[in-house]
């Protein structure tokens, strides 16, 4: 069996496909990075619906600028730079508006309808329930599976580094992490089912 050609370079492959006009490749990048882009913006902007609107604008800007993105660059770092710039630009505009009209709220654009949506109390309750279930499932994992998974997802280590740290063959580590993710997904899916038609 040949070595996977894309190992460690899936973003580059997806960007290249998107640059060739494959929209589905860019959709995958949206799925992969939308939470991290939103989190980057949320460090500077508090309002949920503004965060969502700016997240949309970041992906629009990235898509427009995609032809000029250089393959040797890191897509994620480039995307997060766009996100930080969008948030700072929003804050500057909001501050200017507040200086001109001190009674307006920071997220008020003079009645213009915003496209971001703040989560409802029901959505927040569902999220809480889901993430509590994920935490419980992680806690219930066998020790080696849990350690390998957390080294991968929290510490961001690659499989080789995890294998070395835990003294296990790399394929064993891959298998442990895959089984851990499967166990969590199995428990999470019933809670996610009601929102299926609102996901990608």
């Amino acid at each position: 069996m040949s070595k996977p050609e894309l190992a460690g370079a899936i973003d580059e492959a997806l960007v290249a496909r998107a640059q060739q006009g494959e929209r589905i490749a860019f959709e995958l990048l949206v799925v992969k990075y939308q939470r991290r882009v939103a989190a980057t913006i949320r460090r500077l902007v508090r309002e949920d619906r503004v965060v969502e609107e700016l997240t949309q604008e970041v992906f629009l800007s990235a898509f427009v600028a995609l032809p000029s993105f250089r393959p040797e660059g890191q897509f994620a770092a480039w995307l997060f730079t766009i996100a930080r710039n969008a948030a700072r630009s929003y804050l500057r505009s909001a501050q200017n508006r507040q200086d001109d009209h001190p009674v307006e709220r920071l997220d008020d654009e003079g009645g213009q309808e915003r496209v971001g949506v703040a989560p409802s109390p029901e959505q927040e309750a569902m999220a809480r329930q889901l993430f509590e279930r994920i935490d419980a499932e992680v806690a219930a994992l066998p020790e080696l599976q849990r350690r390998a998974l957390l080294m991968r997802e929290i510490d961001g280590l690659d499989y080789k580094a995890i294998a070395a740290a835990l003294g296990q063959p790399i394929n064993t580590i891959k298998s442990h992490i895959f089984r851990a993710r499967e166990a969590i997904a199995h428990r999470a899916r019933p809670l996610l089912a009601p929102m299926r038609d609102r996901r990608w």
């Binding site: 894309l6 496909r17 939308q34 999220a127 993710r181 609102r198």
Partner: protein, 70 residues
């Protein structure tokens, strides 16, 4: 490993990626599998938000603004 894990880890060949991208255009279950896998990964990394229409609204905005009629 399932396809979602292999995709998100880049553990596939360029030819497999081509096939998978083509399937993704029509296979809602595969899209959901990938979205769920990414949600779990993000959750473990501390990014705890649902995708309650979030991705679809981003894609709708892209379609309106840049992707034309497709």
């Amino acid at each position: 490993m399932n396809e979602a894990s292999r995709l998100l880890d880049g553990e596939m060949t360029a030819a497999e990626l081509t096939t998978l991208l083509e399937r993704l255009k029509h296979d809602g279950e595969l899209r959901d599998e990938i979205a769920t896998e990414q949600l779990i990964r993000d959750s473990l990394a501390g990014l705890r938000t649902l995708d309650d229409g979030y991705t679809l609204r981003i894609l709708a905005r892209l379609r309106q603004s840049q992707w034309g009629g497709g």
